[in-house]
Subunit: 412 residues, 2 copies
């Protein structure tokens, strides 16, 4: 199947221009129409999804679970979509307005980014999520879902198009690439004339590909090698709770704990009791931690550069705050890192020097999340530093424009 | 000469960590020390610059003028540097702070980006400008100047290092690449582990290279194909003034006018008088404009996609606002575009639909400038949409960090 991706790009750009003229209410209605479409097309969507699940014989049970939709999940997805319609709209917000000495009435106004490209894998709910978030903020989108989801995505694409058109918006505002051939990923990544931002939602390899092969600004993120540092003055009872929460509440996600660093002054007091507080967790101890953890495995090369995504935890004893900061500077992915300490000075140094999207003092790394942060929606979690950092809400789908008004005004 | 660019990157990263611990006053003092260093090393700097100018036999007079320093220019540069020290510091600003329902005391705090790479050409003042702006905002920088400026830059680099060290800051906070071999440009563009942002200050080719070859987020911009659209309800006397200002005040800069679009209803009234109002300007008329401009040249293929940077102006008559918007969507570089109109509706449509960094109503495109916008400094002018758009002040050299504080807080 040959896809005219350049043509899709041109259509997306045109749709973006039309979206720039729409009102916030019109976009909210379109999002609600998408939600209605999900409800009224339940049978069609589940039939297509059933086909995808049947054909997905070579993926593991975890991925299959992410792929599968049922009536309850579809209802939840429709509800989530409706709540996107109700979110406050960042578009049109006047960020600042000043009358300049030169006579210019200058405003900085939030506007849609334009066209957003999203590359993702098996989860069909991402198709609906991203479509809704982009429509809400007046962005056109080009979606490239995984091949496992192709039947579901085809039907979802039709449902979304019908919803958009029912509200007078162009169907090209949300376009899915109707082929999962990888060459179209590469082509998309270089369409900088038509696409303003790429959001990859997948593993480290996909993010690397987008940076290396692409010419479009890309939001990298989603990889969390997260640290908790237990300082000599930490409340050790609270530390057990936080480590337990950060490691075990949901080990498969990016804000879960990967490496525990412990000040040598409290290692003897804290570490021997740790295994009992982390049932089911395999500890991987550095040589400095091993003497305090006789039942732990020995940490291997690279263990401190791994995002475990499982009930495994690297443990290292450090000489103090400086060594902890050095370790984090070398190994953190810049996602979420925490210090547990009774010292305000140490807390402030940790906050200033750890170069991560989210830095915590006496709290779990698990809080890094759009919902927990009260952003209402989460487009992605960025671990890069430009444009957006950490959990990205609707604002991250906007840029701004300077608007200058005069009455025949010239520069002198 | 072999340069250990990776080593420079590691040193820059280390310096950035030290800068993250400095106070705003300390960074301001370091910037003032750079200004003092320029004044007290006038002879050394001018001697080196003299050598560069002597050797620059193959560059034109305009470039040679940009390269040359004299006592007056050096004094002005020192004064500009002092004024950077006095600018309000964005670093540390708390953008928002909320106590969340989950108990987390969450702030979003402005922090330095980290390490900034800058690639530029003949102008030695860029070396000092960027060094001062980066130090002020707590960023380390790696500078790659043009080969024409290498003697001047070597001495400026020493002066800056001495100034930094005199204030207890690491010399590695500002590093110049001591070779102008192009392979180091390519290497720099892929050092994403050590460099957080690339700012190219040069022509379209350099910007393209940074996007195509690089893996680091890049701020593209500086290319302005700018439009003025004279609507049927425009005040035509004011229109002559604005077109004159936008085209002739400083034709060599990016916010100068390139293309004039005129509504057909006022073409006969407006265009015949235009040559007399633009003495010295060569008009390049489209077939639709030619009948009203008998003395103009015929516009050639590509003339509407040119940034003239000279006293040339493309002119086209359009059927109305829609055609003007179509023309701008196709040809604008997204820098600065203006509508001259008496219609509020048309003004609002133009503002909403023209996808450019700066959009003007009844004002000259020449206002797009950090100084004119009151930003105090101008790092660059961005025509991309992520992170920063239009004139970039100190804020564009920062990112933010989420800081969550609790007292043994876990996610439930």
């Amino acid at each position: 199947m040959t896809v005219d991706l350049q043509g899709m790009g041109r259509e997306a750009r045109k749709a973006a221009r039309l979206l720039a003229r729409t009102s916030s209410d019109q976009r909210a209605s379109a999002v609600r129409a998408i939600a209605e479409g999900l409800s009224s097309n339940t049978d069609r969507i589940l039939a297509a999804n059933g086909k995808d699940c049947e054909q997905a014989t070579d993926i593991g049970p975890a991925l299959l679970d992410r792929l599968r939709l049922d009536e309850a999940r579809l209802t939840a997805l429709a509800d989530d979509t409706r709540s996107v319609a109700d979110l406050p709209d960042p578009v049109g917000q006047v960020m600042e307005r000043r009358m300049l000495e030169n006579g210019l009435d200058l405003s900085r106004v939030r506007v849609p980014l334009g066209v957003v490209g999203v590359i993702y894998e098996a989860r069909p709910n991402v198709t609906v999520d991203i479509a809704a978030l982009c429509v809400r903020t007046g962005n056109a989108s080009i979606l490239r879902g995984g091949k496992e989801t192709r039947h579901t995505n085809a039907v979802l694409g039709q449902v979304i198009s019908e919803a958009l058109e029912s509200q007078g918006l162009p169907a090209a505002a949300v376009q899915g690439i109707p082929s999962t051939d990888r060459r179209y990923v590469r082509e998309l990544l270089r369409m900088d004339q038509h696409v303003d931002m790429i959001i990859p939602r997948g593993g480290a390899g996909l993010h690397r590909l987008c940076r290396e092969e692409g010419t479009i600004p890309v939001i990298t993120g989603g990889i969390g090698i997260c640290h908790v540092y237990v300082d000599s003055t930490a409340d050790l009872e609270a530390a057990y709770d936080i480590v337990h929460n950060a490691k075990t509440q949901r080990p498969s996600v990016c804000n879960a704990l990967d490496t525990l660093l412990v000040h040598e002054a409290v290692a003897e007091q804290f570490l021997p009791g740790l295994p009992a507080r982390l049932p089911g967790v395999t500890l991987h101890a550095s040589p400095s931690a091993a003497p305090f953890l006789p039942t732990a495995s020995a940490a291997e090369d690279g263990d401190f550069d791994r995002e475990w995504l499982s009930l495994d935890l690297g443990v290292r004893v450090v000489g103090g705050l400086d060594q902890a900061l050095d370790h984090i500077a070398e190994h953190s992915s810049g996602h979420s890192d925490a210090i547990l300490t009774g010292s305000e000075d140490h807390a402030e140094r940790f906050v200033a020097e750890v170069d991560s999207a989210a830095v915590y003092v006496n709290a779990s790394t698990r809080f890094t999340d759009g919902g927990q942060f009260g952003l209402g929606a989460e487009v992605a979690v960025s671990t890069q530093k430009l444009h957006a950092r950490g959990p990205m809400g609707l604002e991250a789908l906007t840029t701004y424009k300077w608007v200058g008004r005069g009455q025949g005004l010239v520069r002198t």
